[in-house]
């Protein structure tokens, strides 16, 4: 544990660099793309250095301003946090590369060209902070920054549809923030601290803690678009421009889910009564079924991919009954925990690849209705192959990261006797095959594609690269597994 | 000597009580005017005049209770600002009410 010395620099860079980049982009206006490119490289390097430090020295804590909690705010990087930072860095690098073509400001400063870059970098900084911060109110400000950035990105297109979607997103997100803030206020009123580690010591099943846990969980569930509150996600993610929807779908809901994960496993582990955890996983399961069913009925590619996000996010909630809950650390909890981390990472990479590919199809054909995409495989082989690889990862077919995730969670489900969650995984996989078959069939149809504008090959390489990483995550899965174990709450119990 | 001293204090307290009481009375009058008067313009007339006078007396009464000059200065500044604000607001709102009534008549 190396608090607060030079080693904190890399950890701080992952948040301070995007912030500095967004400030620079506000001033420099026309050169937003170059600033974002520099920030992407910088944060990538910072995450690499941080990963080396965490792998070498274990969990790394930084007390901001030198003030230790409960007075100050602490940031902490453990295996899980650095893995998600890595996911963010990779996805953001690809998104910045594609957005540079879409939002180029060479001609002169345009509205969207000016607005996109500061917003996407502010979003990145807020996202990285949700993975690192240990203070509940600091997480609230990070969530607000995440929400404002995301809503503004959805509305940046300017048409009527995305504007309504952005408004609905904002209404839901504001509701989520209020419920979360209420919970944080109650916890401070009860225990005089907002730090997760101090709360873990002081929390006990008294009225304020129970109500606070309920409100925070409800608030974060709304922000993660869990089943009954998912209505805002598909139109918002489909309405945003492609690079933005890649960030929104692959990363943003994971920020609020990550906080929920921290709370239920580190801040209030013994507060988790089994029925509550089962309810969360039940809603997750319903999200998988409902999201997949609706994805089957969509006519536009981006709507299919957006509803697939609703479904895939449902898988993440299975971790609560399998790995959470009081009682001795069962041997299968570690594998459920790691499996869910894998699911989040692999879905992030695959979903970003899909939305970037969809963006390229829209760039080529002008719209994303399925019938317009027929036969694109012949003219844009790399992008379509990337989309296909991403579909493999989403389905969880070997050797993809998705398969490793499903395998780990399923073994945990069988070992713990809660077979219903294994059922959810299987049914989800089948439904995913269903809704992904339709776009794949259209893309590989042997119809002659209509008039389309050529898409440069270097842009087509981006989705392929991301999808390749999603597959690679499964192939070389032993390194991430050991890395994720650093700082895991019950690190002692070895996985299956 | 001591009771003479508190004589002055007594006098000061009595004066500030009287002034603040007067201020309160004007505020109540202003509110009554706002509630009871028949139309917008007479209400505006009542509230602007009564309230500002009330605030003036209140400020004066409290100034007697002040510990040092900084507070008296601030009380005077507050009253001045409130006067400006009330004057501006009354004039503009009256014109807006007139325009609104004119629009409704057409």
């Amino acid at each position: 544990m190396i608090p607060g010395d030079g080693a904190g620099g890399a950890l701080m860079a992952t948040v301070a660099l995007p912030l500095a980049g967004s400030l620079l982009a506000v001033v420099l206006g026309r050169h937003g793309a170059q600033v974002a490119g520099g920030v992407a490289l910088g944060v990538g390097a910072a995450v690499a250095v941080l990963a080396a430090q965490v792998a070498g020295g274990g969990v790394l804590r930084v007390d901001l301003g030198g003030w230790a909690p409960p007075l100050g705010i602490a940031l902490m990087a453990d295996g899980l946090a650095v893995a998600f930072l890595g996911l963010g860095a990779v996805v953001m690098a690809a998104v910045v590369a594609q957005a540079a073509a879409l939002f180029s400001t060479r001609g002169g400063e345009s509205r969207a060209g000016y607005g996109f870059w500061p917003l996407v970098m502010v979003l990145w900084a807020a996202l990285n902070l949700t993975f690192l911060s240990r203070d509940l109110f600091n997480l609230y400000v990070a969530l607000e920054l995440l929400t404002l950035g995301a809503v503004a990105l959805v509305a940046i297109g300017g048409q009527a549809g995305p504007l309504a979607a952005a408004l609905r997103y904002m209404v839901f997100a504001l509701m989520g923030s209020l419920l979360y803030l209420l919970g944080a206020v109650l916890l401070y009123a009860a225990h005089g601290t907002l730090d997760i580690d101090l709360l873990a010591i002081r929390a006990q099943p008294a009225p304020p803690d129970l109500v606070a846990a309920g409100l925070i969980t409800a608030g974060l569930a709304v922000k993660t678009a869990l089943f009954p509150f998912h209505a805002w996600l598909p139109p918002a993610h489909a309405g945003a421009p492609a690079p933005a929807s890649a960030v929104l779908s692959a990363l943003v809901p994971k920020g609020s889910f990550f906080i929920l994960w921290r709370l239920w496993f580190e801040a209030m582990p013994d507060l988790a009564a089994p029925p509550v955890l089962t309810l969360l996983a039940g809603l997750g399961g319903a999200a998988v079924i409902y999201g997949s069913a609706l994805a089957l009925m969509q006519g536009r590619l981006k709507m299919i991919v957006a509803y697939s996000t609703v479904a895939q996010l449902g898988y993440l909630f299975l971790v609560f009954p399998l790995a959470g809950g009081a009682g001795a650390a069962q041997p299968w909890e570690a594998s459920a925990w790691t499996g869910t981390a894998f699911q989040a990472l692999s879905h992030g990479l695959a979903k970003a690849a899909m939305f970037l590919a969809a963006g390229l199809f829209v760039m080529a054909v002008g719209h994303d209705r399925l019938e317009g995409l027929r036969g694109l495989a012949r003219t844009m082989p790399m992008a379509v192959f990337g989309f296909g690889l991403a579909a493999v990862a989403l389905l969880g077919l070997p050797p993809s990261g998705g398969f490793t995730a499903k395998y780990l969670v399923m073994t945990a489900a069988f070992a713990s006797g809660q077979v219903v969650w294994a059922g959810v995984l299987v049914v989800g996989g089948l439904l995913a095959a269903g809704y992904l078959y339709r776009p794949m069939a259209a893309l590989f149809a042997d119809a002659a594609p209509g008039p389309l504008t050529p898409v440069p090959r270097r842009l087509q390489a981006l989705p392929l690269l991301l999808a390749g990483l999603a597959i690679g995550l499964g192939v070389a899965s032993d390194a991430p597994i050991t890395f994720l174990a650093i700082g895991r709450p019950d690190a002692a119990a070895e996985g299956l | 000597m001591i009771d003479a001293l508190d004589g002055i204090d007594g006098l000061r307290d009595a004066a500030s009580m009287a002034l603040t009481g007067l201020g309160l009375a004007f505020f109540v009058a202003g509110t009554l005017g706002l509630v009871r008067f028949p139309d917008s313009f007479s209400r505006l007339h009542a509230l602007t005049k009564a309230d500002n006078l009330g605030l003036g007396f209140l400020a004066l009464g409290l100034a007697l209770q002040a510990d040092h000059w900084g507070q008296v200065l601030r009380l005077a500044l507050i009253w001045g600002l409130a006067l400006i604000a009330a004057g501006i607001a009354a004039q503009l709102v009256a014109r807006a009410a007139l325009a609104e009534a004119a629009r409704r008549r057409r």
Partner: protein, 124 residues
């Protein structure tokens, strides 16, 4: 002295309560704005008394309230002007309205519960 000032503060608050009724009832938007103006001035009064009762530093709050008291009225007036950013004084007033009327409620009150260009849903 403390008891008296508390009484004055309570009295001021109750007078503000009267203004709240006008905000609810006030047929025309201008009536509601006036009532808000009264609450602003009354608020300055109450805060001054609270400052005398408690910590004199609260005078700064009264200062800010007095400073910003007119802003709501200015925003209302500008927003309701012809193009939404003008000034009601730019056009000569229609003085025909100001003819004294014997005893009848002023013209501005005959309007429906909502001012015509007034608030929110057209359906009352």
């Amino acid at each position: 002295m403390i008891g008296w000032l508390t009484f004055v503060a309570v009295g001021l608050l109750l007078s503000l309560a009267g203004a709240l009724w006008r905000v609810w009832r006030g047929p025309a938007q201008a009536d509601r704005m006036m009532a808000a103006q009264l609450v602003g001035t009354g608020g300055v009064g109450v805060v001054m008394v609270l400052a005398a009762l408690g910590d004199w530093a609260a005078l700064d709050v009264a200062l800010v309230l007095a400073l910003l008291a007119a802003f709501a009225a200015v925003a209302f007036v500008k927003a309701n002007s012809a193009d939404g950013a003008g000034d009601p004084e730019e056009r000569a007033p229609d003085t025909a309205l100001l003819q004294p009327r014997a005893g009848r409620e002023g013209d501005t009150d005959r309007g429906g519960d909502e001012g015509r260009s007034g608030a929110g849903g057209a359906a009352p």
